[in-house]
């Protein structure tokens, strides 16, 4: 956990937060492209479990009231990898996986919001 904490803060100067025992939480800003707003995101991690990523500000938007945002868990957390695919394991640094994926997710989210198509591929579970 201390390594995760160190790598996140050392890699992304604008990320703040820390860890206590087996829990960590970090907040920072990600801007997927120069034309995008800077999104404030929060990463929560409990040792050995799947890290959770939330977008705090600006809030994510739906295209239509009844149309879900693709690739989210319960419309709250970003789904950045397929749990059993081996994309991610607790041995992987969050700084080199989850955070870049969050930026990528936000990029495809923006394109989805404007075009209605998710062009980042991925696996859906309806």
């Amino acid at each position: 956990m201390a390594i995760q904490d160190h790598l996140i803060k050392a890699t992304y100067p604008n990320f703040e937060g820390g860890c206590q025992r087996n829990r960590g939480s970090w907040t920072g800003c990600i801007q997927p492209t120069e034309l995008s707003p800077s999104y404030k995101v929060k990463v929560e991690y409990v040792s050995g479990e799947r890290p959770n990523v939330y977008v705090l500000d600006p809030a994510l938007r739906h295209r239509e009231p009844n149309e879900p945002i693709p690739h989210m868990y319960d419309q709250k957390r970003l789904c950045l990898f397929y749990p059993s695919s081996g994309d991610w394991s607790p041995a992987d640094p969050i700084a080199h996986t989850v955070i870049p994926w969050a930026s990528l997710w936000l990029y495809f989210y923006e394109i989805w919001f404007l075009t209605g198509e998710w062009l980042g591929k991925g696996i859906h579970s309806e």
Binding site: N14, E34, Y82, P100, W101, L104, F108, L119, I123, S125
Partner: protein, 379 residues
């Protein structure tokens, strides 16, 4: 990539979507050459080996524009549907204009095309040419012409209404335009070099002309719309080697507004390679169309200014949609997302550590490892 270079990429991609596709382009090439061969094999004034068929206008300049579709004009009152690309060709004959009647040449051309089983069903007679319609793809306007002198590119072209030869200079015009578009070429090529894939990019002036034509198709009522050669010439005159499309569009509107503001009279635009040929004739005959043009240029300028002042993806989408139609922008956005997805699949995508910005070449960056977005889409 800076915000402006990202907008630049979008505009290049919008332009790319307006181009003939590579397949359509090849088809057009094959077809006009077949027409040329058919004409050359004819007997009499129209045939012979010393004749030549060649593209002129947008096909020659690389400024073809995909026809506007109904859905692109959603919410607009004025709407004209065009199904095909408009491609122009010159069939240059080995004749002296003073020894031949323009009407006889037009008739001979049409007669020869009617002798062909395929072409005879595709013919439409136009003011100065004969059109072959390839339904839903493109139509080819074949303009018969006679060289006026072996020492120049000037040609004589027939006009049905005036029953006379008029002078024109499509080859000269193309060289002039290429010269204008070639300004700043070195800087432009350097500017696109860092892009991972820039095969979709064309010189800014070429894209500016396409975008102006699409803006015209999208924003003007048919009777008011400035013709393509007029827009192309204006853009060529006003271009000063800007290395970006957005910058060039901005300069275009700024300089044009200043030209317009200098006089109460209608702006006069002549053929730079044939000064007697006035391209702005329509404005003189129909001043309301000139006033409409001035209003639209003002609005175009305001929208470009807004975008430069406050560049953002959503804003850009909004403005481009308004200027060029929803489908064009959507397609361009999709293309850029697919290009990024491709980088990702090739393992070339990186994330800038200071900002989280994605790209192929960030300096202080980490690689984006492979992943699959997952989710249970419950609202």
């Amino acid at each position: 990539m800076t915000a402006v270079s990202q907008l630049e990429e979008l505009l290049q991609r919008i332009g790319y979507k307006l181009d003939l596709t590579p397949t359509q382009h090849q088809l057009a090439e094959e077809r006009y050459k077949s027409v040329g061969k058919w004409l050359q094999e004819a007997q009499g004034v129209i045939g012979g080996r010393n004749t030549e068929i060649y593209p002129q206008g947008s096909m020659r300049l690389g400024t073809t524009v995909k026809p506007v579709k109904r859905e692109d004009r959603e919410g607009k009152i004025f709407y004209q549907e065009q199904k095909e690309y408009d491609l122009d060709f010159v069939y240059e004959l080995n004749l002296r204009p003073e020894e031949n009647s323009p009407m006889a040449v037009l008739e001979a051309l049409e007669k020869r095309l009617r002798e062909h089983d395929g072409y005879k069903r595709m013919i439409e007679r136009k003011k100065r040419c004969v059109r072959l319609v390839y339904s839903n793809e493109f139509h080819m306007d074949i303009l018969p012409a006679c060289s006026m002198s072996p020492h120049s590119t000037l040609i004589a072209i027939p006009d049905r209404e005036r029953r006379a030869w008029l002078s024109s200079n499509p080859k000269g015009f193309a060289s002039w335009f290429e010269g204008r578009a070639g300004q700043g070429k070195k800087e432009f090529l350097e500017s696109i070099q860092p892009l991972p894939d820039h095969t979709y990019a064309k010189p800014p002036l070429v894209r500016v002309v396409q975008l102006l034509k699409r803006w015209r198709d999208h924003s003007f009522n048919k009777e008011m719309a400035p013709c393509s050669i007029l827009l192309t010439t204006l853009a060529g005159y006003l271009f000063q080697g800007e290395i970006g499309i957005l910058d060039a569009l901005h300069s275009f509107t700024t300089r044009l507004k200043s030209e317009i503001g200098q006089s109460n009279r209608v702006l006069r635009v002549s053929n730079p390679t044939n000064p007697g040929e006035i391209f702005s004739e329509q404005w003189e005959k129909f001043p309301a169309s000139y006033r409409e043009f001035c209003v639209q240029v003002q609005s175009l300028g305001e929208q470009i200014d807004q975008l430069l002042k406050n560049p953002g993806l959503e804003k850009a989408q909004d403005i481009f949609k308004n200027l060029f139609g929803e489908a064009s922008v959507k397609d361009a956005l999709k293309d850029s997302a697919l290009a990024l997805q491709k980088l990702r699949e090739e393992g070339r995508l990186r994330v800038d550590v200071k900002t989280g910005i994605l790209g192929a070449a960030a300096v202080r960056s980490v690689a984006v490892k492979p992943n699959n977005f997952f989710g249970n889409e419950i609202l």
